[in-house]
Amino acid sequence: MDAAHAHGYGHGDHAHHPSGILRWIQTTNHKDIGTLYLWFSFSMFLVGGVLALMLRVELFQPGLQVWRPEFFNQLTTMHGLIMVFGAIMPAFVGFANWQIPMMIGAPDMAFARMNNWSFWLLPPAAILLVVSFFVPGGATAAGWTVYAPLSTQMGPGMDLAIFALHIMGASSIMGSINIITTILNMRAPGMTLMKMPLFVWTWLITAYLLIAVMPVLAGAITMILTDRHFGTNFFNAAGGGDPVMFQHIFWFFGHPEVYIMILPAFGIVSQIVPTFARKPLFGYSSMVYATSSIAILSFIVWAHHMFTVGMPATAQLFFMYATMLIAVPTGVKVFNWIATMWKGSMTFETPMLFACGFIFVFSMGGFTGLVLAITPVDIQLQDTYYVVAHFHYVLVAGSLFAIFGGVYYWIPKWTGYMYDETLGKWHFWLSMIFFNITFFPMHFSGLAGMPRRIPDYALQFADFNMISTVGAFGFGLSQLIFLWVVIKCIRGGQKAADQTWEGAEGLEWTLPSPAPYHTFETPPVVK
């Protein structure tokens, strides 16, 4: 892709922004807001990570040593909620804010003030979640799925969680409207849809998914709220309601949500792999089609999360077949990434390591997903650690590794400095090894029947759990390397070239490093 732009970025680029704290509160600049999102997400990642380590401490040995069981349930719930809504989703919105305008040649996001509002809704929501630990009865302990009737019974911590989810949902919807409008209306001349970088494509489709399902979640938790306080009986069997209906509504949101958390990761990996293989992405249009295919299928598979609640055999078969079909477009994607690498002149800088790690480990998570899609197998494995292993393979080694890869890939453009390659490689290898030490044994404990969300377990699971806990602490501590790499990179180092990566293509690499505060005020022309 060639881009011609007649800017003199080097001289006279005045960053017209207030300084100090007001800069960040008032900002309407997509780069500032992207930075805010990324830091917010990383702090939530640390909070959620500490909760996970608190869980693993209790699970180090059988028996109850450290936490009361009620508090353990609060920890599992809040770990899930904080990681999903506070860490993974905002991280991808942070990438979208930083990268989409630079990748399509737009000066900023379409609705700059709404962008500020979308971000600043998140900290209050996070505060509500964290504060809920300290209200009478503690935080919600109903699991991140807030299943009724658990969620219709708990204390005020549940109300705080509902309010937090509403706020985060509103933030996501506004973010999505902004992203769709930006992509559809603000592309540089010549940047047709089929010339857009794949990261932009995956976010366009993700944003539609978000707009489709976040209101469904809002509806579900509003019904819980009215069941709790306003005398309705949506989910109360005694009053003529149906608790299973909650599960259907929740998972109609929840399954597309899974793809909301992985499609932008696919986009990031599809940017990184061609760069370091020094070849164009193999099967670009297939990638676009596969992404939309996954998005469509994500709406008709929700009940595979609830095979054990009881449903007709016809329904079980329907959801089983539909779920297994998702392997086709996902397989197309994995095939295309590998075909991109095929005969490329590859180098393995940290972003590429994370992208390769993603493809390898995410595929394993995909395969265990296929195992779980088989109804009779799922009925055996439902609510065991096999499921915990499966979704951590796709969410940690999938989404999180892609986020790390994306940060290493673009941080030279954001800060103007190269990150420390040696430390980056340490971060990758320690994360990869400790991730597998933590989660691989969970397949075995799950197959052997260890239930999830339980603070105590039978003796035969002791060794696997001990290994998992050691791995979890290793993984958690390895993330401090990442924090150090990022801080070090912001503070200085080797100057990054404008075209940071030799094989990288795209408009963002035509800009100086660091990217000036205002970019593409005159749109570039894409040939």
Partner: protein, 71 residues
């Protein structure tokens, strides 16, 4: 215009072409040239209508299949 070999003033796509594009989207495989042709000949309205019809056919054929197996 995008490529040689296709008309400079794109004709509207026939229902068959739209169906082919939607089917490709469901499987996730499409030739780039064919896709680029799609983007100039298929209107968004056509794509959305065909997508909804395609999803309905897909869901009903899955239901028929599982009815056949369980029946």
């Amino acid at each position: 215009m995008l490529m040689t070999g296709f008309d400079h003033t794109p004709r509207k796509a026939t229902p068959f072409q739209v169906a082919k594009a939607v089917l490709s989207a469901f499987i996730g495989i499409r030739k780039r040239a064919a896709h680029e042709h799609d983007t100039v000949t298929i209107s968004p309205v056509q794509a959305i209508i065909a997508g909804i019809i395609g999803a309905a056919i897909f869901v009903s054929s899955l239901i028929l299949l599982v009815r056949f197996i369980t029946g």
